[in-house]
């Protein structure tokens, strides 16, 4: 900000705008780092055609084999990365689409808000697995559209979690004190200013943790992609099982790989929640 010269009083301070959550390095740094990670994930991860173990497990013997277990770790990591990529892409869709859904449901036009509510409720209360099959079948039956399995998973996750996000947005917007809306009216703010400067900045801290939780939840649903042939974590385990007839090691490894991602992610979300919650006082 430039120094003011118009006032001679010494009491006039330099104008220091309040640093909001998106201006604070302790919040911003992890966010930027995560975004960079996401970008790398999207750019650098390619979907492997196959998951082949180089090591054959002894046939007929079902006892747990640690060598075999550790041998598959690189494959498992590949599978996790593929899912993470689909999750991140899908959640990007969810964030945007969810906002549209929230607006659709909030609008005063009954013929928009009512169907919006029905669609949101419908998608929310039906299984993602069936939805994935549905989207795959639907897009295949349309001429000229050809989606890869990862794209279908992205879309399916995006649409499914958009409904959750829309509910989070709605709750966040409703959590803004009624007095804030009234003050905005009393100051005669236009709708754009009202939303961008008053309502959304106050809603975001309430919405972010919920979104973070849904991101983790979406990641937990991503293995379902196997049903539409996404070569991810569960596909890896299935393929190893089909080829070596050993189920224990690949599935347990898949579980371990999962917890290794989802537990820290959930922890990060809680940290974010704590950091931002101070904004609410």
């Amino acid at each position: 900000m430039t120094q003011t010269t118009a006032h001679s009083e010494p009491v006039v301070e330099e104008f220091r705008p309040h640093r909001r959550w998106f201006q604070r390095p302790d919040v911003l740094t992890p966010l930027i780092l995560t975004s960079v990670g996401f970008a790398l994930l999207i750019g650098a991860v390619s979907v492997p055609a196959n998951y082949r173990t180089e090591m054959d497990a002894p046939p007929g013997d079902v006892s747990f084999d640690w060598m075999f277990f550790f041998h598959m770790v690189p494959l498992m990591v590949q599978g996790v990365l593929v899912l993470a990529k689909a999750t991140v892409l899908g959640f990007t869709v969810a964030i945007v689409l969810g906002f549209a859904m929230a607006l659709g449901r909030r609008t005063k036009l009954r013929w928009v808000s009512w169907p919006s509510a029905l669609v949101i409720e419908f998608i929310r209360s039906t299984p993602l697995l069936v939805q994935l099959f549905f989207w795959q079948a639907l897009f295949r039956s349309v001429e000229g559209i050809s989606l890869t399995p990862v794209e279908i998973l992205t879309l399916g996750l995006g649409i499914h979690y958009a409904t959750y996000c829309s509910e989070a947005y709605r709750a966040g917007i409703n959590s803004v004190d009624k007095g804030q809306w009234e003050a905005a009216t009393a100051l005669n703010l236009g709708p754009v200013t009202k939303w961008t400067r008053v309502i959304i900045p106050q809603a975001v801290p309430n919405v972010l943790p919920a979104l973070g939780n849904y991101l983790v939840a979406a990641f937990k649903d991503a293995p379902l992609g196997v049903a539409v042939n996404v070569h991810g974590l569960l596909f890896f385990a299935d393929q190893v099982r089909a080829e070596t007839f050993r189920a224990t090691e690949p599935y347990l490894l898949a579980g371990v790989g999962f917890l290794l991602v989802s537990l820290p992610a959930a922890w990060l979300v809680r940290q974010l929640e704590k950091r931002i919650s101070y904004e609410r006082v």
Partner: protein, 271 residues
């Protein structure tokens, strides 16, 4: 801006204050009729204090004037312009949003619970509307904002957020914020009742200052009878959504005619 076709109350005074004129205003919440065929005139620059028992509709009349609550029937004019209606030839039609926004720019309101924007500093709170609504340059808005903060004695708190301010300070910022839009009518709804007793004084002092500058029309709802007596041009006693007594403060407060007023004033004193 069009100038009203009638005399005093609806007019704009030369100094930039506007009058308010209400006719047959009715407002009900469900079956609860809160305002009943209310007629009320406030002259430009006049300072009116509204008193009355709880639930008598004092807040509602201010909120209706601020367009926070739509009225069911009747008309309200501010500065000679209809608030909820537009004139088409001789006919009144319900106003479009753009018309309401335009008339609303003459009105400012201060709330009981401040309603400051908690994510902005005091100065940012004040600068927002001048920049976004009136298109003031940022520099000018900042200087004007600082001047206002100084006027309410809070120049040192310009960079603090509401969370860091006391109740009295918050309310003074809220007053400065609504002054920043240079309204011609100011509405104050029990601006001191959410404050600890020792903080009431500082806010009343600010109100006195504003009143002394004497430019804006003021409608105040308050339970501070001493304050009302001192600065009101006129006191209105509300009950059941209607004005049951009206007159100079000394008359209404010192020598009430109506039984309800006597009972009300008795209760307030006993308290």
């Amino acid at each position: 801006m069009s100038v009203s076709e009638t005399a005093t109350p609806g007019q704009i005074s030369e100094k930039g204050a506007a009058g308010v004129r209400m006719r047959d205003v009715t407002k009900a919440f469900g079956s609860n009729v809160v305002l009943r065929d209310l007629d009320l005139d406030v002259a430009p620059g006049e300072r009116v204090v509204i008193i009355g028992p709880s639930g008598s509709g004092k807040t509602t009349i201010l909120r209706a004037t601020m367009t926070l609550e739509r009225i069911d029937s009747g008309t309200i004019e501010v500065g000679g312009r209809h608030l909820y209606h537009e004139l088409h030839g001789n006919k009144l039609r319900p106003a479009r949003e753009s018309h309401i926004r335009e008339v609303r720019s003459d009105i400012g309101m201060v709330f009981q619970h401040f309603n400051l924007f908690p994510h902005m500093t005091a100065l940012e709170n004040i600068m927002l509307a001048p920049i976004k609504v009136h298109g003031k340059p940022r520099e000018a808005a900042r200087d004007a904002g600082m001047a206002l903060l100084e006027q309410v004695g809070l120049a040192h708190a310009a960079n603090q957020t509401p969370g860091q301010l006391s109740g009295g300070q918050k309310q003074r910022v809220a007053i400065a914020r609504s002054l920043a839009c240079e309204p011609k009518v100011m509405l104050f709804d029990e601006v001191t009742s959410a404050l600890d007793p020792e903080l009431v004084g500082e806010v009343l002092n600010v109100l006195r200052d504003i009143a002394e500058e004497g430019r804006t029309t003021m409608m105040l709802v308050t339970h501070e009878m001493g304050f009302a007596r001192e600065m009101a041009d006129r006191v209105l006693m509300f009950d059941g959504g209607q004005v049951i007594e009206s007159g100079a403060p000394a008359d209404v407060l010192g020598n009430p005619q109506h039984d309800r007023t006597k009972a009300f004033l008795g209760a307030v004193k006993a308290h």
